[in-house]
C-alpha cells in the first residue's frame, strides 16, 4: 500500500517555533510562530484534515516580537505561551508571555480563509512572565497533564516556577532555582518530566544535562558532557520514567537512563549536522523523531529500549480465542532498532519537529525558511506495531 505523500505548507516568514496544540485531542492542529524583525509576527494555526489530506490555516497576529519558542497549554485549547524577542533601546531581550487566542478565529477562518489572512486577529495577552531581573527566556514549559496552572520558564541560568492565577491573568513566582558555576551559564533547553507526579525537570546547558526536583528546587543529577558539544534538546520517554533522549551539536542523539548517568544507553549518529530537536511519540515510545540543520528529519524505531521491547504484548485470553493470530505472531520477527525513514522535504535547517497531540501516527517538522511538512508514520510499520 502506498503511503500518503507529505503535505507541505509554506509560511512567508522564517520560523523556528512549532508546537502541537496539546489540549486538542480531536483535530490535528499545530501552532507555528514566525520570526521576522521587520514585519508583524504571526502565529499560524494549522489544521490538518486527515481524510482529505488538506490543510486549513488561520493566522493570528503576535505583535510583541519575533517568536523563538511556543508552547500550548495542556488544559485549555486556547491558551499558549510564547518566548519572543523585544528590541528596545538597542537591546534585544527575550521575554515570555501567556496568551489566549480570540474565540472567533475558528469560525472566521471557515467562512472566508482569504480574508482572515488579510485581516488577522490579534492574540489576547493574559500576562507577562516578568523576567526583567532574570534575563532572556529560553523556553516556557507547561506542567505535563496538569491543569494549566503551572509553568516553568528557563531564563539565563534561572529556573522559575510560576503559578497562574485568576484564569491565567496573573503570574507569580512560586519558587526558583539558580545554576551557579564558572563562566556565563545559560540554559538552552528543558523538559518537564511527566513522571513522578510531575516533580522533576531536566535542563540542558552547554554540554551538560541536569535533573531538578521541583519540590526542593535542587539538582538531583547531572550528566556532565552528555554531548561532545552543545545540547540542543531533550525529551522524556512518556512510558519509561527514567529514560531520556537528548540531542546536540555533535550530530548525535543519545538515550539516557538517569539512574546510570555515566554512559548513555544508546547512541545514534545518523544526522550529518547538529540535531536541534528530538521527540518521543506520545503513545509508542519506540518511535523517535529528530530534526537537524542538515535539513533532514529522521524517524527511528528504537524497539530495544522502548517500553515494548518485544512488540505488542497480547493477552493470553485473546490468544486462546484466536488461534490464527497466534500463528501469525509467531511468523513475525521482532523489530530491530532501525531508521524507519529519512524525510528530505526541507531545504533549510529543521529547528523543530513535533508529534500531533491527536493522531499518534502524524508529525510535523518546521524548517527555517518557513516550510512546514506534515508526514505520517509508514503504514506498514504502523500495522506491525498495532497488530
Amino acid at each position: 500500500m502506498e503511503d500518503d505523500a507529505p503535505v507541505i505548507y509554506g509560511l512567508e516568514f522564517q520560523a523556528r517555533a512549532l508546537t502541537a496544540q496539546t489540549a486538542e485531542t480531536d483535530a490535528i492542529r499545530f501552532l507555528v510562530g514566525t520570526q521576522s524583525l521587520k514585519f508583524d509576527n504571526q502565529i499560524h494555526i494549522i489544521d490538518f484534515d486527515d481524510e482529505n489530506n488538506m490543510i486549513n490555516k488561520s493566522v493570528l497576529l503576535h505583535d510583541a516580537g519575533e517568536i523563538w519558542h511556543i508552547s500550548g497549554s495542556p488544559a485549555e485549547k486556547a491558551v499558549l505561551t510564547t518566548c519572543y524577542s523585544k528590541t528596545s533601546e538597542s537591546r534585544v531581550l527575550t521575554c515570555a508571555a501567556v496568551w489566549r487566542m480570540p474565540p472567533e478565529w475558528e469560525s472566521g477562518s471557515h467562512e472566508s480563509p482569504d480574508d482572515s489572512s488579510n485581516n488577522p486577529q490579534t492574540l489576547e495577552l493574559l500576562c507577562h512572565l516578568d523576567n526583567t531581573t532574570h534575563g532572556s527566556v529560553a523556553c516556557v514549559l507547561w506542567e505535563p497533564m496538569g491543569d494549566g496552572k503551572r509553568v516553568i520558564s528557563l531564563a539565563e541560568n534561572h529556573v522559575l516556577l510560576w503559578d497562574l492565577q485568576e484564569s491565567s491573568t496573573k503570574a507569580t513566582i512560586s519558587s526558583s532555582a539558580t545554576l551557579e558555576g564558572k563562566g556565563q551559564l545559560k540554559f538552552t533547553a528543558g523538559k518537564w518530566s511527566p513522571h513522578h507526579n510531575s516533580t522533576q525537570l531536566a535542563t540542558a546547558n552547554d554540554t551538560a544535562i541536569r535533573g531538578w526536583d521541583l519540590r526542593s528546587m535542587s539538582q538531583i543529577y547531572c550528566i556532565e558532557s552528555a554531548h561532545g558539544q552543545l545540547v540542543r534538546d531533550l525529551d522524556f520517554n512518556p512510558n519509561k520514567q527514567y529514560y531520556l533522549a537528548s540531542c546536540g551539536d555533535d550530530c548525535k542523539v543519545k538515550f539516557w537512563d538517569v539512574r546510570h548517568i555515566n554512559e548513555p544507553v544508546k547512541c545514534l549518529e545518523e544526522h550529518s549536522h547538529w540535531v536541534w530537536s528530538v521527540r518521543y511519540n506520545h503513545s509508542h515510545d519506540q518511535l523517535l523523531l529528530t530534526g537537524s540543520s542538515d535539513s533532514r528529519v529522521i524517524l527511528s524505531n528504537m524497539v530495544s529500549i522502548s517500553s515494548e521491547p518485544f512488540g505488542h504484548l497480547v493477552d493470553d485470553d485473546e490468544l486462546s480465542d484466536n488461534e490464527e493470530s497466534q500463528q501469525e505472531d509467531k511468523g513475525k520477527e521482532p523489530l530491530q532498532d532501525s531508521i524507519i525513514a529519512t524525510y528530505e522535504e526541507h531545504e533549510d535547517s529543521v529547528y523543530a519537529v513535533e508529534w500531533s497531540a491527536a493522531d499518534p501516527w502524524l508529525f510535523a517538522s518546521l524548517s527555517y525558511d518557513g516550510r512546514l511538512v506534515i508526514n505520517r508514520v509508514p503504514r506498514a510499520l504502523k500495522y506491525r506495531i498495532l497488530l
Binding site: 507541505i8 490555516k57 558532557s225 549536522h273
Partner: protein, 780 residues
C-alpha cells in the same frame, strides 16, 4: 664321343649352376632339389651308392674320345693302386692289436687262480675268530651286570650325600654370599625333597633347607631394598628372587617404588630450581638441560633396566605361565605416566615463567631438547603416551608464545604511538627548535618502518619453531595449524586487525572529550592505515606465507577483507580528523559570534582578528594535510575568485510560489535567488565522509566551520554595523578560503547564506559598499 661335345656339355652345367644358385637365392628350389636327387642317384657317379660300372663304362665310351679314355683309365688305375695300399696298411694295424689283447687275457687268467686260494684261507680264519669272541663274551656276562648295578648305587649314594650336605652347603654359600650357587643347588634338590618328604629324614633336610632359603631370600630382599647396589647386582637379585618363587608383582612394585624415590629426588631438585629461578636467573635452557640430564635420563635407565629384568627376560619353566611381562608392562606404564606428568607440570610452569620475548631461540632450543629427549622414551616404551604429552606441551608453549608475541607487538605499537605523540607535542613546547623535530612524513615512515621491522623480527623469531633441525618441526601441528592458524591468523592478522581497531578507538574515545588525541596523530594514523591498505598488508601476508609455506587447509582471512578493514579505519580516522579540526575552528567562530553585542557595535574598520586566525589555522592545516596526502582534484576556478562580490539581499519583496503544493500564502520574504540556488544546488552534507586527498579534507573542514558560522548568525540579532562587520568578515574569508576547497561555489554559497541570514536578522539592513569592503579587507 667327339671332343667337341664336352664343352657344350660343361657349359650348360655351369650355366645351370649359376641359374640354380639364383633360383636358390629367390627361393625357387624345386628344381634344385630335383637336380641334387638326380646327382645322388646318378649311376655314373663313381663315389655314389648307385654306381653301375656298366652304365658308367658305356657312358664313357659314348661320350669320351680315345685320348680322354686313356687319361681316364690311367687316372683310374692310379686311384685303385692308392686305395689298395691304404687297405693293406689298415689290415696290418688291426692284426697287431688283436695279438697283444690275446696276450693280456692269458696273463690275467693266471693271476685270478692265485687269488682264489688266498681268499679261502681268509674266510677260515675269520670263522675261528668269531667263535673265540662268542666264547669270551659268554664268560664276562655276569660280571658286567654286577658292575652296572654297583655304579647305579654309587650315583644314588652321591645324590643322597648331596642332599645330606645341602643345608651345610647352603649355609656356606650364604656366608660367602654366593647366592646364585645356593639357589641353583636348592633348585636341584627341591623336587627330590618334595617327592620324598614323607620320609622323616628327608623332611628334616627339607625343613632345614627351607629355613636357610628363607634366610637367603630375606638377605636378597634386603639387598634389593637397599638399592645401593649396581644395576647388574640388582638384576641378579631379581632373577634369584624370581627363581625362589617370589611374587613378581611385588618385586615390580618394590623396584618401581625404589626407582621412584630416586626420580622424585630429581624432581624435587627441579622444583627447587624452579622456585629459585627468579632469584638465580637461570635460563630455561639450563633448566630443561638439567631436567633432561637428571630426570629423563634416569627415567630411561630405570625403564631400560626394568624391561631387562621383568619384561624381556627369556621365559622359562613355570614363570612363563604367570604372564609376568604383561603385568610388569602395565605397572611400568602407570609408573612412567605419573612421574612424567609431574615432570611435565614442572616444565610447563617453567615455560610459563618464560614471558620475556627477547630471545626466542633459547626457548625453542630448550623445547627442542625437551622434545628430543622424550624421543628416547618413545623408543624404550613404544606404547607410552608420554611423548605425545610432551608434544602437546611444546604445542601449547608455541601457542602461548604466539600470544605473547602478539601482545608484545601491541604494546610496541602503543609505545611507538606514544613516542609519535610526544614528538608531535614537542614542536609546540619548543617553538624555536622546530627544525630539530622530525616532520610528519618522517614520523610516518619511521613509525611504519618500526612496526614493520618489529613484525619481521617477530616473524623471524617465530620461524625458529619450524626450523628444519628442530625435532618437533615436522609434527603435523607445526607444519599446518601453527603456520596458518597460529602465525598467520593468530599473529599477523590479529595484529593488523588490532591496528585498525585501536585506530578506530581513537575516533570514538576522542569524540566525546573533544581532542584528547592530537589531530596530527589522527592524520598520521589515517595515512598509516591507508598505506596498509594499499601495500603493507599484502606485503606482510605474502612474506608470512612465503616464510611459513602456509598451506591453507582451514579458511583464513583473505587479504581483501583486511584491506577493507584498514581502509575503513583510515576513512574513519580521516573523517574524525576533519571533524576535530572543523570543530576547533567552529568553536572559535561560535565564540566570536556569541560573545559580541551585534546590535551596538561600531562601524567596521578592520577584519576581526578571529577571521585572520581562522585563515591562519586553515593554512596550517592545509600544510599539515599536504605533507601526508596528495592534492586531489578541484573544479576549475574562475579567473578572479577572490574578487567576487556578494549580493546582499535587499528587502525587495518578490512574490514567488515555488511549489504547486504550497498553500496560497502571503507575499514571501525569502529571497528568490537564494531559493533558486537551493533548489538547484545539491544538498550539502556537512559531516560527510571525505576522500583521501588534501582538497577533500580541507573542504570538509571549511564546510563544518562555515555551517557553524551560519547557524550562529541565525541565532543573533544584528544592528547596522553588525551586518557590515559580517560582510567584511565574509569577504575576507572568501578571499582566502576558496583556494583550499574542491568547489569554490560551495564557499560562495555558504558565505552568501551567512551574509543573507545576517541581513535577515538585521534591524537596520543597510549594507556596506563593496568597494569599502574590499579596501578594508586588503588593508587587513
Amino acid at each position: 664321343m667327339s671332343s667337341a661335345t664336352t664343352p657344350p656339355d660343361s657349359d650348360p652345367t655351369g650355366r645351370r649352376r649359376v641359374h640354380s644358385m639364383l633360383k636358390l637365392y629367390y627361393g625357387l628350389n624345386e628344381e634344385g632339389t630335383a637336380a641334387e636327387q638326380a646327382e645322388s642317384l646318378d649311376p655314373c657317379d663313381i663315389n655314389g651308392p648307385h654306381f653301375d660300372p656298366e652304365v658308367y663304362l658305356n657312358k664313357l665310351r659314348k661320350e669320351c674320345s680315345l685320348g680322354e679314355l686313356m687319361d681316364h683309365e690311367s687316372c683310374m688305375v692310379k686311384q685303385i693302386r692308392s686305395l689298395d695300399s691304404d687297405m693293406q696298411t689298415l689290415v696290418y694295424e688291426n692284426y697287431n692289436k688283436f695279438i697283444s689283447a690275446t696276450d693280456t687275457i692269458r696273463k690275467m687268467k693266471n693271476d685270478f687262480k692265485k687269488m682264489e686260494d688266498e681268499m679261502d684261507c681268509l674266510s677260515a680264519n675269520m670263522a675261528a675268530i668269531t667263535e673265540f669272541s662268542a666264547r669270551i663274551s659268554g664268560t664276562l656276562q655276569d660280571q658286567h651286570a654286577q658292575i652296572t648295578k654297583l655304579s647305579g648305587v654309587h650315583t644314588l649314594l652321591r645324590k643322597l650325600q648331596f642332599l645330606f650336605e645341602l643345608p651345610a652347603r647352603l649355609n656356606k654359600c650364604l656366608e660367602l654370599q654366593a647366592y646364585a650357587q645356593a639357589v641353583s643347588a636348592h633348585r636341584r634338590a627341591r623336587c627330590v625333597l618334595q617327592q620324598y618328604s614323607h620320609m622323616p629324614s628327608f623332611r628334616g633336610i627339607q625343613d632345614d633347607c627351607h629355613v636357610i632359603m628363607e634366610q637367603l631370600a630375606q638377605q636378597l630382599r634386603q639387598k634389593f631394598r637397599d638399592g645401593g647396589s649396581s644395576a647388574k647386582d640388582l638384576s641378579e637379585c631379581v632373577e634369584l628372587l624370581l627363581q625362589l618363587d617370589e611374587p613378581a608383582e611385588e618385586l615390580c612394585d618394590k623396584f618401581l617404588s625404589h626407582a621412584q624415590s630416586r626420580l622424585e629426588a630429581d624432581l624435587q631438585g627441579l622444583e627447587v630450581e624452579l622456585k629459585d629461578s627468579a632469584v638465580t636467573d637461570t635460563d630455561i635452557l639450563e633448566f630443561i638441560d638439567r631436567g633432561c640430564n637428571e630426570f629423563v635420563s634416569s627415567l630411561c635407565l630405570v625403564i631400560a633396566s626394568y624391561q631387562e629384568l621383568f619384561i624381556n627376560r627369556p621365559q622359562e619353566g613355570e614363570l612363563a605361565s604367570k604372564n609376568i611381562p604383561e603385568m610388569a608392562n602395565g605397572k611400568l606404564h602407570v609408573f612412567v605416566d605419573t612421574l612424567a606428568a609431574r615432570y611435565f607440570s614442572l616444565v610447563e610452569q617453567r615455560i610459563q615463567e618464560e614471558k620475556g620475548v627477547g630471545d626466542n631461540s633459547l626457548l625453542v632450543r630448550a623445547l627442542d631438547r625437551f622434545h628430543r629427549r622424550l624421543q628416547a622414551i618413545t623408543k624404550l616404551l613404544p606404547g607410552s603416551a608420554v611423548p605425545s604429552h610432551g608434544t602437546e606441551i611444546v604445542v601449547r608453549a608455541a601457542r602461548e608464545r604466539i600470544k605473547q608475541y602478539l601482545s608484545a607487538l601491541q604494546t610496541f605499537y602503543h609505545d611507538s604511538l606514544t613516542d609519535v605523540r610526544q614528538a608531535l607535542a614537542a614542536p609546540r613546547l619548543a617553538v624555536g627548535g622546530a627544525n630539530a623535530t622530525p616532520s610528519l612524513p618522517e614520523l610516518l615512515t619511521s613509525l611504519s618502518n618500526f612496526i614493520l621491522n618489529q613484525l619481521k623480527s617477530v616473524l623471524a623469531s617465530v620461524h625458529l619453531f619450524t626450523a628444519k633441525d628442530i625435532t618437533f618441526s615436522n609434527k603435523p601441528y607445526f607444519k599446518g595449524e601453527f603456520c596458518s592458524q597460529g602465525v598467520r591468523e593468530g599473529l599477523v592478522v590479529s595484529f593488523i586487525k588490532f591496528i585498525c581497531q585501536s585506530s578506530r578507538q581513537y575516533c570514538e574515545s576522542a569524540g566525546d572529550r573533544g581532542g584528547s588525541t592530537p589531530p596530527a596523530l589522527l592524520l598520521l594514523l589515517s595515512r598509516l592505515c591507508l598505506d596498509y591498505e594499499t601495500s603493507t598488508i599484502s606485503y606482510i601476508l605474502t612474506l608470512t606465507d612465503e616464510q611459513f609455506l602456509v598451506q591453507h587447509h582451514t579458511p583464513v582471512t583473505p587479504v581483501t577483507a583486511l584491506c577493507a578493514e584498514a581502509r575503513e579505519a583510515a576513512q574513519k580516522l580521516l573523517n574524525h580528523y576533519v571533524k576535530v579540526q572543523g570543530l576547533i575552528i567552529s568553536q572559535m567562530l561560535r565564540k566570536s559570534v556569541e560573545t559580541r553585542d551585534w546590535v551596538n557595535t561600531i562601524e567596521p574598520r578592520n577584519v576581526r582578528a578571529v577571521m585572520k586566525r581562522v585563515v591562519e589555522d586553515t593554512t596550517s592545516i592545509d600544510v599539515q594535510v599536504g605533507l601526508l596526502y596528495e592534492e586531489g582534484v578541484r573544479k576549475a576556478h574562475s579567473s578572479d575568485s577572490s574578487k567576487r562580490t556578494f549580493s546582499v539581499y535587499s528587502s525587495s519583496r518578490q512574490q514567488i510560489r515555488y511549489a504547486p503544493s504550497y498553500t496560497p500564502s502571503a507575499p514571501m520574504d525569502t529571497n528568490l535567488l537564494s531559493n533558486i540556488h537551493k533548489l538547484f544546488s545539491e544538498r550539502i552534507d556537512i559531516f560527510s565522509p571525505v576522500e583521501f586527498n588534501k582538497v577533500s579534507v580541507l573542504t570538509g573542514i571549511i564546510k563544518i566551520s562555515l555551517k557553524t558560522f551560519l547557524e550562529c548568525v541565525r541565532l543573533r540579532t544584528f544592528g547596522r554595523y553588525g551586518l557590515q562587520q559580517i560582510q567584511v568578515d565574509c569577504h575576507y574569508l572568501q578571499m582566502y578560503l576558496w583556494r583550499f576547497v574542491s568547489d569554490e561555489n560551495l564557499v560562495h554559497f555558504l558565505l552568501d547564506e551567512i551574509v543573507g541570514s545576517a541581513a535577515h536578522r538585521c534591524l537596520d539592513p543597510s549594507p556596506m559598499e563593496q568597494s569599502v569592503i574590499e579596501v578594508i579587507c586588503e588593508r587587513g
